[in-house]
């Protein structure tokens, strides 16, 4: 009997396979190992959310969903992971009777994206020279 994969585990496993050779690190280890790849931000949808928020003061849930062409569940799960890591801040409000969820990038999230970009550039540089 095979183990059932959750929605969130699948892309992470694919990402890990594709980046064999790049060291992945969880949120807890991040501060201790600044040279390692940030697992929280490495997943495609989460990377998309962080990138989109980096060029906007804030974006609503629906804006993120349209932009990333993702489902409600997908955006919700990944945004929550980023929120738990302290990378995005979420504000829930009402516009009339319609609930509205707005996200913005925190300073930690901006730093994480910057570190991730540095890491990717370093990987390209190393592969080119190695």
């Amino acid at each position: 009997m095979g183990k059932t994969q959750t929605k969130d585990q699948r892309p992470r496993a694919q990402g890990a396979r594709a980046t064999r050779g790049i060291e992945l690190v969880g949120a807890r280890e991040r501060s201790a190992s600044p040279g390692r790849l940030d697992r929280v931000i490495h997943e495609r949808v989460r990377l998309g959310i962080v990138s989109a928020l980096a060029v906007n003061e804030s974006l609503t849930f629906n804006e993120l969903k349209t932009l990333l062409r993702a489902t409600d569940g997908n955006v919700s799960v990944h945004a929550r992971k980023l929120e738990r890591a302290g990378y995005v801040a979420c504000v829930k409000s009402f516009e009339g009777r319609i609930p509205r969820t707005t996200y913005r990038l925190t300073a930690a999230g901006r730093r994480a994206l910057s570190r991730y970009l540095d890491h990717m550039e370093a990987v390209i540089r190393a592969a080119r020279h190695g």
């Binding site: 990377l47 990138s51 989109a52 928020l53 060029v55 906007n56 970009l117 550039e121 592969a127």
Partner: protein, 205 residues
């Protein structure tokens, strides 16, 4: 029969191309930022320059003895304005590393140019019928519409500027025909210069 080794080893481990994966990630980040970002290549200083030439054009147009001369003055000003705006946008885009034809820019151009094309068609139709007095209002309203539409993917101050142009255009329809040049100077001169200075100060040039 002699043994022929296979040319491709099916059991060879697949070495993941880490470099191309990293490059793909960087490309994904850039594309996401471009489509999520605002169109910020509108040059504030370019607008200030156009505002100055528009005020000169309004003075020159007001002194023209014929309607054809008046129209020619404003058409020359339109060409000059397009040249200044184009050069200023290219310069700002280069300086800030922005793309003029991808991401949010791709959405900006159709939205901005459609009302301007409508303005050109209406200008030709009105001139053919000798309705010169309606031109200032039509130009201001349609330029305002273009700016509001294009401003949907730009910073809020651009949309505000478009709204002001629209209001000025409506005022041009209501005011006596003799006010045309003054209203055009107020719009393409004053509004562009004031908002241009604000954009230049807040949005990097």
């Amino acid at each position: 029969m002699p043994f022929v080794p296979p040319t491709v080893d099916p059991y060879r481990p697949v070495v993941p191309d880490v470099r191309s994966h990293a490059a793909a990630n960087l490309r994904f980040i850039r594309e996401t930022m471009e489509s999520a970002g605002s169109f910020t290549a509108v040059s504030g200083w370019g607008q200030v320059a156009i505002g100055t030439t528009a005020i000169v054009a309004a003075i020159v147009a007001g002194r023209q003895p014929t309607r054809a001369g008046w129209l020619a003055t404003w058409l020359v000003e339109a060409v000059v304005a397009v040249a200044i705006a184009g050069a200023a946008m290219v310069a700002k885009a280069r300086r800030k590393g922005l793309s003029l034809f991808s991401g949010s820019s791709r959405k900006f151009w159709p939205a901005f140019t459609a009302p301007l094309a409508a303005g050109a068609a209406l200008t030709a139709a009105l001139v053919a019928r000798g309705l010169f007095d309606a031109l200032p209002g039509v130009w201001l309203v349609l330029f305002g519409t273009a700016v509001v539409a294009g401003g949907a993917v730009s910073v809020p101050v651009v949309r505000l500027m478009g709204g002001c142009f629209f209001a000025l255009g409506v005022a041009a329809f209501l005011c006596p025909p003799g006010w045309g040049d003054a209203l055009l100077a107020a719009g393409f001169g004053g509004l562009l210069a004031v908002f241009g200075a604000a954009i230049a100060r807040r949005h990097g040039g």
